[in-house]
């Protein structure tokens, strides 16, 4: 099995699925000859041609809206949004159209499509190349939301997403594109949409995270182990539909929950997880459910000191976990 970077696993998944199924195509800005600004589609234009790797006009709502139309016809579009920060022009097409189409037609019109978007900060991108967007899209019934944190999951989840008969938002922790490496099998395999993954077992508290934050959480947990704090780590992987069972089982075991994301705190996805725990594991809790998240400022500032101030990282996770363990 080859070791690959996250972005390579993503490319593999698209390449494989396009090879297997000629209804799968890619549409987005600079996905063609340029191979995507993060090189996620590198080589695919050369391999599959401009009718299957389509450079769109600079207009996100049309990327998604045209994708929806093609999906209604029976195709399986993969819509690439260049940076998650630029998805808002397409908000109406995602929220009003893709996600409501099946329900509003009483099941007549499924929309099998994937929306891929690189997200997250810590890469010097400033306010508009660093944003997390899951706080919005996990509030959209009809849409599934997936965030891989390992190359293995990235490939398996993307294949699942492409084959899923529903619209799936597939968020890519872009800081990890080349930083996160791991074993990726050749060829076809699936990581199902839905189940969370317990990536480290522990006794004293559970950290819930996803994407880059899961990467850091795991490192934090390993360090804390040496301090004698036994941390369980759950990689949520699928944010919608959320895997309540795994979450509750883990909290019921450890009695303490730390929910981590880099998105802004208020109204973020962590509130949902905290609320689920507070409601359904109340009698098992030995401490308040703690959220560690990005501060409530518009987005990640550019200048290094302010960026570091904004970003959740290994240290901040360790501090929060220590505090919670000592509660």
């Amino acid at each position: 099995m080859a070791e690959k970077a996250l972005v390579e696993a993503i490319r593999d998944a698209m390449d494989d699925e396009m090879g297997r199924d000629e209804d799968v195509f890619i549409v987005g800005e600079d996905v063609g000859q340029r191979g995507g600004v993060f090189r996620a589609t590198e080589g695919l234009f050369e391999k599959y041609g401009g009718m299957r790797v389509v450079d769109s006009p600079l207009a996100e709502l049309s990327i998604v809206g045209v994708g929806i139309g093609a999906a209604l016809y029976g195709m399986k579009p993969i819509c690439e949004i260049q940076f998650a920060d630029f998805i808002y022009p397409a908000f109406n097409q995602i929220v009003s159209e893709a996600s409501k189409m099946l329900y509003r037609s009483d099941g007549a019109w499924p929309v099998p499509m994937v929306i891929r978007a690189p997200y997250g900060g810590g890469i010097g991108g400033g306010l508009y190349h660093s944003q997390s967007i899951e706080g919005f899209f996990t509030h959209v019934p009809g849409l599934k939301v997936v965030v891989p944190s390992t190359p293995y999951d990235a490939k398996g989840l993307l294949i699942s997403a492409i084959r899923d008969p529903n619209p799936v938002m597939y968020l890519e922790p872009k800081k990890g594109y080349r930083l996160i490496r791991g074993e990726v099998p050749e060829g076809e395999y699936i990581v199902p949409i839905g189940p969370a993954n317990i990536t480290k077992s522990g006794e004293d508290l559970t950290i819930f995270a996803y994407g880059m934050m899961h990467f850091y959480a795991l490192k934090a947990a390993e360090n804390l182990e040496k301090e004698g704090i036994s941390v369980e780590v759950v990689d949520l992987r699928t944010l919608v539909p959320v895997d309540k069972d795994t979450i509750l089982k883990s909290v019921k075991k450890t009695g303490k929950a730390l929910v981590v994301h880099e998105d802004n705190l208020t109204g973020g996805y962590g509130g949902e997880i905290a609320a689920i725990i507070a409601e359904h594991a109340f009698t098992y809790l030995d401490a308040p459910v703690r959220r560690l998240a990005g501060p409530d400022v518009p987005a990640v500032p550019f200048s290094h000191p302010m960026q570091e101030w904004f970003m959740v990282n290994e240290d901040k996770i360790m501090n929060a976990a220590r505090e919670l363990a000592n509660y």
Partner: protein
């Protein structure tokens, strides 16, 4: 191209049936039997003319909420429409989830429309792209009002079709109002057709009250599209003879005289005159048709009144494809 008498009668029949059904909806609303109606009265000629130029069931349509006559021409039955008016089980558009007249009819490739205007045009371009990819010789018809062309969504949809020479025909039903707002407040061009030159596709403005003339224009535009020569923008000029919807009071923004003046150019009357002038039908025959329409509609209304409401819990599904009941 000369239309056979049979086809002319058929077109008249569709206009008539839609008109009488629409009129009955207004009555049902006054009787308190339905909660809401949005009307296509005055717009039937454009819709029927366009519909008859399509290959029914093979070509695709993304319609809008005034397209009752279009949908009837495609095969929506008065009974089906009444079910949606009354929010009854069996409404084929949405299983009574959407407000009436937000059409969908999978069996004739008529895609579900939502309320946010112009979104459907982007889907049309996506369907057109899929058709181009699949190299079939289908075409797509998409419709909307003139006010809705103010949306960026519309612009992006047309832009895609023009760039990729997609087989899409954009029908703008210019009925002189967007609720209360006249075209001069929507655009700085004299005609919606003028917008085409800025987007690089042919644009024509036609008399939307002359069903037979409309038919010819669409036949040409569809032929162009079908043969790979790209999209056309067609503005059909007409007048909205009713208030915007059953919630509207149009006396606040237009005079009764203005409305009465336009009733003289009622497209149904004009079509009737043509049939009589060309001796395609006699007064008596046309009166019989009228009677037949009313009977069908009364039957449909009775049917609708007997029909059950959806069960409350049906609202629960289908949010995701996995929940769709098959068969």
């Amino acid at each position: 191209m000369d239309l056979s008498s049979e086809v002319m009668r058929e077109m008249y029949w569709m206009m008539l049936l839609a008109r009488r059904l629409d009129e009955r909806a207004w009555v049902l609303h006054r009787q308190g039997k339905i909660a809401f109606h949005i009307s296509g009265i005055g717009q039937e000629a454009a819709q029927v003319g366009a519909a008859f130029a399509l290959r029914k069931g093979e070509d695709w349509v993304t319609p809008y909420y005034r397209d009752l006559a279009l949908m009837i021409s495609l095969g929506l039955t008065p009974k089906e429409y009444v079910l949606s008016l009354m929010g009854k089980a069996g409404d084929p558009s949405s299983g009574a989830r959407q407000t009436p007249s937000h059409f969908s009819l999978r069996r004739v490739n008529a895609v579900s429309q939502s309320a946010p205007v112009a979104t459907q045009c982007v889907h049309a371009s996506g369907i057109g792209l899929a058709i181009k990819m699949k190299k079939t010789n289908q075409v797509v018809l998409t419709t909307l009002g003139e006010g809705s062309t103010s949306q960026g969504e519309w612009y992006e949809a047309v832009n895609w079709a023009a760039i990729h020479q997609l087989p899409v025909v954009f029908l703008v039903q210019n009925n002189q109002y967007a609720i209360s707002v006249p075209p001069e407040m929507q655009m700085a061009v004299k005609s919606v057709a003028d917008k085409a030159c800025g987007l690089g596709l042919p644009g024509i403005s036609i008399d939307g009250t002359d069903v037979f003339g409309v038919y010819k224009s669409f036949l040409e535009a569809f032929e162009t599209a079908r043969s790979g020569n790209g999209p056309t923008l067609i503005e059909a000029k007409m007048y909205r003879l009713t208030p915007h919807s059953s919630d509207d009071d149009d006396r606040t923004y237009r005079s009764r005289e203005e409305v009465e003046e336009h009733k003289k150019k009622d497209p149904l009357l004009l079509a009737r005159q043509v049939l009589l002038e060309k001796s395609v039908a006699t007064e008596a025959e046309l009166d019989t048709l009228d009677k037949k329409a009313k009977e069908m509609i009364t039957e449909a209304v009775n049917f609708g009144e007997q029909a059950p409401y959806p069960k409350a819990e049906e609202g629960m599904h289908p949010v995701y494809f996995e929940e769709v009941q098959h068969g």
